[in-house]
């Protein structure tokens, strides 16, 4: 029974679903486009929009995780960390499923980026609270500023502009997502 108050408190229906819908729509429509942005080294850099399309989703996940019933959740009777982790995994998992169904490399790359950025955000959350939602944005800015090579073959540390087939980017996304998810499960400090 207690799952219902959790779903309502997290606003899963309205917030997470709309965040996911917007991100998916963006990745399906404009995900493969490139934009030219001022960059540190080469003057201008072609940045693929797959880097940015997960932002609405990670923002929605943060809103959802921050909508809570502090009193009930503080009592250790109900453990919501597992459900939170499930919510995040299911959302990102749905994106991967869509990528598999559509067979599109662009959707797969943006799903991987969603996992990477969500992991990064959840990792920062125990320290900075809700402001962790800006960490994915900061990462995209750092990538555009410092990456010295254009999109099909960017510098390895950047992760986001890598094509879906890059094994190290997939690994990095999996590891960060894993750490992020475990921090949701085990660190339930209410910091805001």
């Amino acid at each position: 029974m207690s799952m219902w108050w959790w779903m309502k408190a997290r606003r899963t229906h309205s917030v997470v679903l709309s965040g996911l819908a917007i991100s998916l729509l963006l990745s399906l429509t404009i995900g493969s486009e490139e934009v030219e942005l001022p960059s540190l080294v080469s003057g201008m850099q072609q940045a693929v929009l797959t880097m940015f399309v997960p932002i609405p989703l990670v923002a929605a996940l943060m809103v959802s995780l921050e909508s809570r019933l502090p009193g009930i959740e503080a009592s250790s009777v109900r453990r919501v960390g597992g459900w939170d982790a499930l919510l995040v995994s299911a959302t990102v998992g749905f994106w991967f499923a869509l990528a598999a169904v559509s067979g599109s490399g662009v959707v797969a790359a943006s799903a991987r980026n969603a996992a990477f950025l969500a992991g990064l955000m959840l990792l920062a959350r125990p320290w900075v609270g809700e402001a962790a939602v800006m960490v994915p944005v900061a990462w995209t800015m750092v990538v555009v500023a410092f990456n010295r090579r254009p999109a099909p073959d960017p510098e390895p540390w950047t992760i986001l502009p890598e094509p879906a087939s890059a094994p190290h980017a997939a690994l990095a996304a999996a590891v960060l997502f894993g750490i992020g998810i475990s921090s949701v499960m085990f660190i339930s400090k209410d910091k805001s």
Partner: protein, 423 residues
Amino acid sequence: MKFKTRLRSSFAVKSSPFLLGLVLFYYLGDAGPPPQNYGHAPTVVSFPLFYLCAFAYAAASALAAWESGSIRKFGVWHWAPQRSRYRIAAESLMPVVLVSWSMLVLPVSLALVETSTLPTLASLGPLFEAMVLCVAHAVIGFAVGLYLPRSVSAPVLAVTTWIVIAFTISLDPPWLRQISGLCFEYLMFGEALTFSALWPPILLAGGVALAVAVLWMKNRFVAIPVALAILLTGVVVSYNEVKDRGYFPPMATGVTELSCAQSPGGTEVCMPKVTASALPRVARTSQSVLADLRSAGVERSPRLITDSLADGRYLRPSTDRVWRIPLTRAAAQNGERFQIVIAAVGFTCARPDPVLRRAVLEWVAGVTHTEREWQQAKARVEQERSSADAAATSMVQGVHRKTKAQQAKWFEESVHASCRRDG
């Protein structure tokens, strides 16, 4: 809340180490003063702004959205009817505006110090424009943050403001970049943006900002029509101003101090003060060229020989009386004599008959003792032609390996790109 307390607790100030750090790294990378700026203040000021202004607007709108999201979250906006909403907004936007301003002022000051350039009023125009736009974007961000949770509005505004404004550099029609608030990248020597380059972006973003701010009035019946009128005026007037523009914003040229030398024949020779170290030599050379011509029976008596460096990108043709020559560039390679000779010939059209042109130049080179320079100039043209041929051949070989659709795309893009720099 006291000002200091407000600053310390503000999210904007807490994120400033990251933002200013990124600005600093940009500055140390590409966004430092461009090479060959000759200490021209408009160039030195505008170059870092191009890299950083979209970024500062993004920071302003995102941080403002975060502030107003917090205000909404803690009920200040709706539960404090006795306090002026404008006062609340102004107080919470103060740190946001200060942080975004420092993202602009820091790199500009560094560039001015590094090149030991004194800023002029004209050179600071783009900086003031960008600072006003920071305020406008902060107000817009604040308004968005009142309606959306801050975890959504802040990251989404940061990314969209940044991408949309920075992206206008590669969009056609070109007026988009003239109205978006993206700072113009590269002013050449002698150029400075005029006021008409600066106000359309301010009117557009400022109009939107003012319109949303009017909506905070408690009297909705007045607020909505007034806001609509302001919004519409801003959009229409700014669009009308920029809609016919090319890639370059309106700019003044010759914005620099000249040093001039009067020579006995009544000809004045002028070069920009900052590059005038060669002026005495150039003045002597022009006198000697005119004397050589006179003894060959050719009379040329210009009133003024001036450096076309100060004309920026819009080179103006020479006339009988006023010769515009790239004196600084030529003097740097000790090539001013031949440049003055070419100006003295004074062809009256852009593309003279090739045979006559060569014959005329060969004769005049003999008269003025510049045969060596004339041979070098011919060799250079030959060299450029053959290396352009080689580059084109290898480029086309690469293109032939692409698919049919890619080749067609390359063709259209190249046709466009080959004239893009002409403005």
